[in-house]
């Protein structure tokens, strides 16, 4: 029987880890993800899991150790945030190119500067092109559900790629909310045992991981890695479908909330999507045709699917919780507009930067944005295509 409970987002991830009982967890503490290795350590100390915890001296080491453990044949994970993820930079690319299906519980926090501990997506967006699968959560329930789906996606034979399960630092990681937890045996059966075909600690079957590749091979290896990421799209769907059977909760690349007849859609990721939904409900009561497209899977980027989902609306607000300093918008803004153009969906697309370094994002902000879109479409008011919301000016 699923159990109704209340816990924080970090507790939810730690609980999922306990139910999965992975083999190895190398980790180094950093706010706001510290609680995850801390809680897993308690589970280990209490004999509730037999995970091998490796205390390391930095995140560079935690990811290195994770790659090593995974290559050796162990189901591995780590957790980090912000500067911790940045310090893993080189290893993130190695984990993906060495095709290691390890999991990373990322608690999104901004990167300096100015130095700040609060939430935005600068850390994971910086790692968006490292070859990892990235899945984002709106709340504690979703981060729990996503973590349980992580290994079945990453370890699938057509994928073999590392996976980052992201949640918003403090906003969900440290907020206590209602959650429905599944039974241990249901989770264990869903995730299954990790049985790699080839692994380093396999007597009599030697292998080499991560060999040097001259130019004659390296480009082919990258193409293969790219194919694996594309393959993960089908696998993410399959796993979500299977997960729905055991949980009753539906997942996909994104959630379309009241978008069917919507003139204006807000495309947003993470905890702010809930705030946007609340605002949409209130605007719908006033007869406004608005909706939310909550992106769950950012890597692989479901470009075609997003373009199709937006093809019937008049304008979209693309919400970036990250500045990418390209002088042209945030990462989501760039990728969504590229998706629209390639698929010949020529709608008004405005890129908003919001919620940087913990700046609050409110229902009123959502009202303002929809009002701007409406003004641009119905009155032809010129609209800044790339702008900040919630900025003092």
């Amino acid at each position: 029987m699923p159990k109704k409970d209340r816990m924080s987002g970090n507790e939810a991830v730690a609980y999922a880890i306990k139910q999965i009982n992975p083999d190895v967890m190398p980790a180094f503490p950093i706010t706001p993800s510290t609680e995850i290795p801390q809680m897993v350590s308690s589970y280990i100390a209490n004999g509730e899991v037999d995970t091998e915890f490796i205390p390391v001296e930095s995140e560079h080491s935690s990811m290195s150790a994770a790659i090593g453990a995974q290559a050796a044949g162990a189901r591995t994970l780590t957790a980090t945030s912000s500067a911790g993820l940045a310090l893993m930079w080189e290893e993130l690319l190695l984990a993906a190119s060495n095709r290691m299906p390890l999991a990373l519980a990322l608690v999104n926090r901004t990167l300096s500067g100015p130095i700040n501990i609060n939430c935005d997506h600068t850390d994971s967006m910086g790692a968006r092109d490292t070859g990892w699968i990235q899945i984002y959560a709106e709340n504690n329930q979703e981060v729990y559900d996503n973590f349980i789906q992580a290994y079945p996606i990453a370890e699938h034979k057509d994928v073999h790629l590392p996976i980052m399960i992201c949640q918003d630092g403090f906003i969900t990681s440290h907020a206590v909310e209602n959650i429905e937890l599944m039974d241990d045996d249901v989770v264990k059966e869903f995730v299954g045992e990790y049985e790699p075909e080839e692994f380093l600690l396999n007597p009599g079957k030697p292998m080499a991981v991560g060999p040097y590749a001259i130019s004659a091979y390296a480009m082919e290896a990258r193409k293969n890695q790219e194919i694996a990421l594309e393959n993960s799209k089908d696998v993410i769907w399959q796993v979500a479908k299977e997960y729905e059977k055991i949980s009753g909760r539906k997942y996909g690349f994104f959630e379309e909330y009241r978008t069917k007849d919507a003139d204006y859609i807000m495309l947003i990721m993470g905890s702010a999507a809930g705030t946007a939904k609340q605002a949409v409900d209130e605007l719908r009561e006033q007869g406004k045709k608005v909706g939310v497209l909550k992106l769950r899977v950012f890597r692989p980027f479901p470009a075609k699917e997003i373009a199709a989902a937006l093809s019937r609306c008049k304008a979209v607000a693309i919400m970036d919780r990250c500045e990418s300093y390209n002088g042209n918008g945030g990462p989501l803004g760039s990728e969504v507009t590229a998706a629209l153009f390639r698929n010949k969906v020529m709608i008004e697309a405005v890129n908003y930067i919001y919620g940087l370094a913990g700046r609050d994002f409110t229902v009123e902000n959502v009202f303002d944005i929809f009002a701007q879109l409406d003004d641009a479409v119905t009155s032809g008011t010129e609209i800044e295509q790339y702008q900040y919301i919630g900025l003092r000016k």
């Binding site: 709106e138 403090f170 206590v176 209602n178 809930g274 705030t275 609340q278 229902v363």
Partner: protein, 201 residues
């Protein structure tokens, strides 16, 4: 409780305002409500002003922003009244509870003209009497429940007993003291709450 309730806590780092908010979410959850309990985080410094929040509702809670127009404000440290505008955005039909030995009328003078209900709880005295130490968060939690009426006194006391028994399994004397502090708070607020009820009636 018919509608959803938004509570803002003001305290100082180390006084347990965040813990009180999480505990309130905990007990409200046990009555079958949808809950949120979260602090506003910054660099953690003992004594610096901090804010924590609760949303409690019969419906699923999706908003993930801070609370700007609370129904109830709880001030765990009265010295904050001089530096923080604690009633900012507080609804006129809402209430503020302040931990102080002063009367509600005296405290109101510091509340920037706030017109709604003002309650005071002498949490320091209650805590010192019941526990022998100044832990203001237990009395303030009881006050938040008493004033908001999110659950009955009996239900609250039952849930808190279970919660403390779990938390302080090895220190039963603390359980008793904390329970006493909660009871004393309810008793202390009884007259003030009745007065308000009569006014409404």
């Amino acid at each position: 409780m018919e509608k959803s309730l938004e509570i803002r806590w003001h305290g100082r780092g180390g006084q347990g305002a965040k813990t009180a908010a999480l505990l309130l979410a905990d007990v409200a959850f046990k009555t079958g409500a949808f809950v949120q309990g979260f602090p506003e985080y910054g660099p953690e410094r003992m004594g610096a002003p901090i804010t924590a929040y609760n949303r409690i509702s019969k419906k699923e809670i999706r908003v993930h922003s801070n609370i700007y127009t609370p129904d109830l404000v709880v001030v765990v440290d009265e010295t904050l009244l001089h530096s923080v505008n604690v009633t900012a955005g507080l609804k006129e039909d809402g209430a503020v509870i302040v931990n102080t030995a002063q009367s509600a009328d005296e405290v109101r003078l510091l509340l920037h003209g706030y017109k709604g209900a003002v309650y005071t709880v002498d949490a320091r005295t209650i805590s010192t009497e019941a526990l022998g130490k100044n832990f203001p968060n237990s009395p303030m939690l009881a006050a938040a429940v008493a004033v908001s009426g999110i659950m009955s006194r009996e239900t609250f006391m039952k849930e808190m007993k279970a919660s403390y028994s779990h938390k302080f399994a090895k220190k039963p004397e603390v359980i008793e003291g904390n329970m006493k502090a909660l009871e004393m708070t309810f008793d202390a607020l009884q007259d003030a709450l009745q007065e308000v009820d009569e006014k409404i009636a």
